[in-house]
Point group: C2
Chain length 204, copies 2
């Protein structure tokens, strides 16, 4: 088994944090996305969509999409549970995972692709798209910050996959690559970020 | 228990199809999104993001996000399994669910919001955003059609949540509301659509 991943990819980091929380070790193959190495003919056989991460099994079968890879490890190694146990818990964690993904991560990537000099040569950037997504993220985070007033983690009182996705997203947003920093005035989010960043897995 | 939903909402339809496949009945409360009824103060208490569907439990707790609601029913009523059983199956279905969602459904909604007269009064439409998303969908569907040559369903040889999401997406794309029809030249997708549309659950 091998995990194709990239050190600067926020989706790869989700899996690295997940593995650290489960105390699992998997051999990594580094794919340099900044040099287009996720679009070589060899890599496209593993993931035809040219994205990292991807998990290749010993029989050559591959699983792409970060959360799909995490679910594989959750099913193989249920402890500690990061996707929930009871039906309500499973549903609540899925709800938060999707809220973070669809209202923060997806528009953040659109913002990044349409604003960063790193992408200028590779895609036809549309500046208005960067503004549109940055505004949508601002509205979502203001709401999320208020909603987080009474709980410690994104989906409740336990650390879950929703926290992993939110942490990888926030650190990517705040990075020099993206530069769409989360306002420090969002105090509940700042407190949450400090809590989850202090876990050993955050170094992954 | 009550399911807040809307007859024209593709995300509500996912849950309706899911319930039909599980042969479950849940009382519906219709929310007329075309009249802004998902943004009333009462509804925002159920889902502060103002989206349907949402599942309200008898104790007042609510779960939003279509796939989260489906996971609740899967955990309560595992048969027939629509999210997979073995670790590899669970991972493969999650991979396909996300590929369909992120590369087809999400850009389709962006296309719709930025092109339809139905949304013109409600959001500041950006025509270039409609073109950008329509082009991205076209590239994805061409690849998906080729990839589907050797299998019957989206995620393999069984009907799953990935088919439900893809069916609701394709029928929404082909509807008069959206009008971003899937080309009939994509023969594998056309064959798949005929197969899944013939299931009784497709009428939900």
């Amino acid at each position: 088994m091998k995990l194709y991943q990239s050190s600067h990819s926020p989706n790869s980091r989700r899996v690295r944090i997940f593995l650290a929380e489960k105390v699992l070790e998997v051999p990594f193959v580094d794919v340099d996305i900044s040099k287009g190495r996720s679009h070589t003919p060899e890599y496209l056989k593993i993931n035809p969509l040219g994205q990292v991460p991807a998990l290749e099994m010993d029989d050559g079968t591959a699983i792409a999409e970060s959360v799909a890879i995490c679910r594989y490890f959750e099913a193989m190694h249920p402890e500690p549970p990061l996707f929930g146990c009871s039906p309500m818990e499973i549903a609540r964690i899925e709800m938060w995972q999707r809220r973070i993904e669809l209202n923060w991560f997806v528009p953040l990537i659109e913002y990044w692709h349409n604003s960063s000099p790193m992408w200028a040569d590779r895609i036809g950037q549309i500046p208005v798209l960067a503004q549109h997504n940055s505004a949508a993220i601002g509205r979502f985070l203001t709401w999320l910050d208020g909603d987080m007033a009474d709980r410690e983690y994104i989906a409740g009182d336990r650390f879950t996959i929703a926290d992993i996705i939110a942490l990888a997203t926030m650190d990517h947003a705040n990075s020099v690559y993206v530069g769409l920093e989360v306002s420090k005035e969002l105090e509940n989010l700042a407190r949450w970020h400090e809590t989850v960043s202090s876990r050993p897995s955050a170094r992954a």
